[in-house]
Amino acid sequence: MEVVIFLLKAYLLVFIAIVTLYMIRHFVFTFNRLFGEQKLYYQDIMDNEVPFVTVIIPMKNEEFVAGQILERLVSSDYPVERLEIIPVNDHSEDATGEIIEKYAAAYRHVKPFHRLDKEDKPGKAHSLNDAMEIAEGEIVVVFDADYQPPDGIIRELAIGFKDPEVGAVMGRVLVENCATNMLTMMLELERSGGYQVDQQARYNLDLIPQYGGTVGAYRKEAVLKMGGFDPQVLAEDTELTYKMYLNGWHVAYANRAECYEEMPENWLDRAKQIRRWARGHNQVMFRYLVPLLASRYLNFKQKLDGLLLIFIYMMPTLLFFGILSSLLLFLAGDVEIVAGLFFLIFVVSLGAFGNFAPFFQIGAANFIDGRTKALRLIPLFAFNFVFYMLYVSLGFWDAVKDVFRKAEPYWDKTKRYQRGANHA
C-alpha cells in the first residue's frame, strides 16, 4: 500500500510540474504578444517575380461549399499565369464534381482532378499526394473546401518563400459562423487565442509555429523529398511541421493572411473533430518524439517548445490520471504532500492550463482583436475543459491503438453548413 501511495504522490508531483511548465509557457507567450517585440512577416515585400503556385482543395461531398471557395479563388489577385487551382474531387457522391467542372470550363487555370477510381484510396493525405504529382507549382497552397480565401491571400502566403529557410507558411484562421451559437463563439475565442497569441508568439520567439494544414503553403519539392503525406497519420499538418523542422526548414506564421472557415455548430460534431485531432496529433507524437530530441537542426528552446507542443494532446489523459491520483490519495487519507503549496500550484495550474488555450491567452488575444464583449463567455471554458478532457483522451487511446494497427484509420468528416455563402 505504501508503494502505491508513493507512486500516486510521485505521479501527482510530476504532473503538477509539467502543468506548471505549460502555464509558464502560455504566460510567456501572452506576455510576448502583449509587450514583446513582434517579428515582421514578409507581407510588406512587393516583388513582381513570384513563384508558380498550385492551390489544392481536397473535396469530398462538398457541394454546399465548392462553388463558394472556387468563386473566391478565381478572383484572386495572384498573376493567373503563375497560378493553377486544383480542386480534388475525392470520391464525391454529390454534385461536387459538376461544380468543379463548371469552373474548369470557365477558367483555364482551374484544373480539376477527379479521384473516383476504386483503387484510389480516399482521404486528404492521398488527395494531396496525388495532386502534387500533377501540380506544376513550386509552392503548394492548401485550403479546405469550407474556407473563404480573400483576394490577396495567395500572394501573402507565397511571399514568405522569399526566405530560403522557410519550408512552410501558415495563415490565420477566423471562424465565419461564430455568431451562430454559444459553441461557435467559444471556438472563435479559442481560435483567436491559438493564432493571435500562441502562433504569433512562437514565431516571435523563433520557436515552432505550427503548419495547420489549411490556409497554409509549403515547398512542393521539400515535401516530396520528405516522402509526401502519410495516410496513416490523421494530423498531416502537425506531421509536416515536425518533418520540416527535422529537415532544417522553418515554418513562418502570417498573422495578417486571414481566412474564414466554418466550425462545427453542435457539440457532437465538435467532439468528433477534437477526437480526430487528438488522435492525429498523438500519432505524430509517437513517431517524432525521439527524432525531435535528437535533431541537429533544432536548438534547446526549439526542442523544448516542440516537446511541449507534441505532448499537448496527451495532457488531458495525464490530467485524468492526475485527478484520479488526487482522489485516491484523498480516500486513502494521505493527501498532505506538502499540502498547502502544492495544492495551490495544482489548482492554479489547472485553471491556467484549461483547454489548451489558457484563459489569459484567450483574453489577451481577443483584447488585441478588439473583441471584448464575447469574453464574458470565458467562465464557460471550465465546462468545455471537462468535455475536451473526455474526447481528447479518447483520441489519445485511438492513437495508441493505431500503433498496433496496420490499416489506415477511418475518420468522420466535419459537417458543412455554408453559412458564409452570403458573406462571400
Binding site: 517579428k39 510588406d44 512587393m46 489577385d77 526566405d163 464574458r376 467562465p379
Partner: protein, 344 residues
C-alpha cells in the same frame, strides 16, 4: 444554528459566489449575443502601395464637384468640410481648410497648409512649407526643409528637397530624394537619392557573363559558423542559410538567395542575384547591385552608387527599424520601415 444547517448555509453561499455570480455575465452574453459578429476580413483586399491616395480620391470626388471649381470658390461638404480653391497667387501664409489647386501652382516659402492640398496640375512648394497631405495629378516639387505630416502622392515625378520629411510618398513615376530627407514608406519607379546618378546596371549582362544553369546547385548551403566570409571576387552559385553573420568581401557574387540569422555586410562592388533576408542588420557597400529583395528585422544601410532591383524586376527594401540610404542610389521600387528612413 445547528452545525448541519451551518454547513448547508456555507455551501449555498459558496455555490452562489463561485458558480452563479461568474455565470451572470455568461448568461447575459449568451442571451444578448452581443459582440458575436465575426472579425471583419476584407475579402477584396489586395496590396496596393497607392491605396491611400486612391481611397482619398474617391472620398474627394464624392464630396466635391471638382469640374465646377474655379479659383476663389469655397465649397462646403458634410464629409470633408470646407474646400478653398486657390489661383496662382497664394495670399495667406496659413490655410486652415482643405485646398484645391486647379492650375499649375507655386506655394511661396513658409506656407502652411493645415489640411490636405489637392492639385490637378504640377505643384511646387518653396522651402520650409508644411502640409498634412499633398495629392497631385502631375509633378510635385518640394523645396528644402518641407514637412508633410501624413502622405504625398503624385501621378508624375516627385522631387523632395534637402532635410524634408515626407512620411509616406508614392508615385508611378520617379522619386528624387535629396540629402537629409526622412521618410517611412516610399513607392516609386524608381526611388533615386540625388538625381545625378546613371543607375541602370544591367542584370542580363552579369547573368550572361557568369551564369550557366548547370552551375547552379539547387540544394541549400547551410553554414553553422558564427561568422562566415565570402572572399574577395569569389562566386557562389547556390542559395545559402547561415546561422551567424555573413560578410561578403569586395567583388563577391552570389547567384542565389541568402538567409542570414545574424548581420550581413557587403563590401563594395558586390553582386547578389537573389534576395537577402536577415534576422540582423544589412549593410550594403558602395557600387553594389542586388537583383532581389532586401529584408531585415533590424536595420538596413545602403552605400552610394548601389542599386536594388531593375526596371524589369521590381523589388523591395523592408526593415523593421532604421533605413539609411546614401546619396546616388536607385531602388526599384518599394521601401518601407517601421521606424524612420533617412537619406544622407
Amino acid at each position: 444554528m445547528h452545525s448541519v444547517d451551518m454547513l448547508i448555509w456555507q455551501y449555498t453561499i459558496g455555490i452562489i459566489v463561485l458558480i452563479v455570480l461568474p455565470m451572470i455575465p455568461v448568461i447575459q452574453a449568451v442571451w444578448s449575443k452581443e459582440g458575436y459578429a465575426p472579425l471583419p476580413v476584407n475579402l477584396k483586399y489586395t496590396k496596393d502601395p497607392r491605396a491611400i491616395a486612391k481611397q482619398f480620391d474617391r472620398y474627394f470626388t464624392d464630396a466635391y464637384d471638382i469640374d465646377a471649381l474655379e479659383p476663389g470658390a469655397r465649397i462646403e461638404s458634410d464629409k470633408l468640410g470646407t474646400l478653398e480653391v486657390l489661383g496662382p497667387v497664394f495670399e495667406k501664409n496659413v490655410y486652415s481648410g482643405m485646398v484645391y489647386l486647379p492650375h499649375k501652382s507655386v506655394a511661396p516659402p513658409k506656407t502652411k497648409f493645415e489640411r490636405e492640398v489637392v492639385a490637378r496640375d504640377e505643384v511646387v512648394f518653396g522651402d520650409h512649407c508644411y502640409a498634412r497631405v499633398v495629392r497631385t495629378g502631375k509633378k510635385l516639387i518640394l523645396g528644402e526643409e518641407n514637412c508633410i505630416v501624413r502622405w504625398i502622392d503624385a501621378e508624375g515625378a516627385i522631387y523632395v528637397g534637402r532635410n524634408s520629411h515626407i512620411n509616406i510618398a508614392s508615385t508611378p513615376s520617379t522619386m528624387h530624394l535629396e540629402k537629409g530627407v526622412t521618410f517611412h514608406r516610399l513607392y516609386a519607379y524608381p526611388i533615386l537619392t540625388s538625381h545625378t546618378f546613371a543607375f541602370k546596371k544591367s542584370l542580363q549582362h552579369i547573368r550572361d557573363e557568369h551564369l550557366d544553369e548547370a552551375m547552379i546547385d539547387k540544394n541549400l548551403l547551410y553554414i553553422s559558423e558564427r561568422t562566415h566570409t565570402l572572399s574577395e571576387n569569389s562566386i557562389l552559385f547556390r542559395s545559402m542559410v547561415t546561422q551567424g553573420d555573413l560578410k561578403m568581401e569586395r567583388g563577391a557574387k552570389v547567384f542565389g538567395n541568402i538567409k542570414v540569422n545574424g548581420d550581413v555586410t557587403l563590401a563594395d562592388d558586390c553582386f547578389v542575384d537573389g534576395n537577402i533576408i536577415a534576422e540582423g542588420s544589412i549593410t550594403i557597400g558602395e557600387n553594389c547591385f542586388i537583383a532581389g529583395d532586401l529584408f531585415s528585422r533590424e536595420s538596413i544601410e545602403i552605400g552610394s552608387y548601389s542599386q536594388v532591383g531593375t526596371s524589369e524586376h521590381t523589388k523591395s527594401v523592408v526593415a523593421k527599424k532604421r533605413i539609411r540610404l546614401a546619396e546616388h542610389i536607385a531602388i526599384f521600387n518599394y521601401l518601407l520601415t517601421d521606424e524612420v528612413g533617412e537619406v544622407g
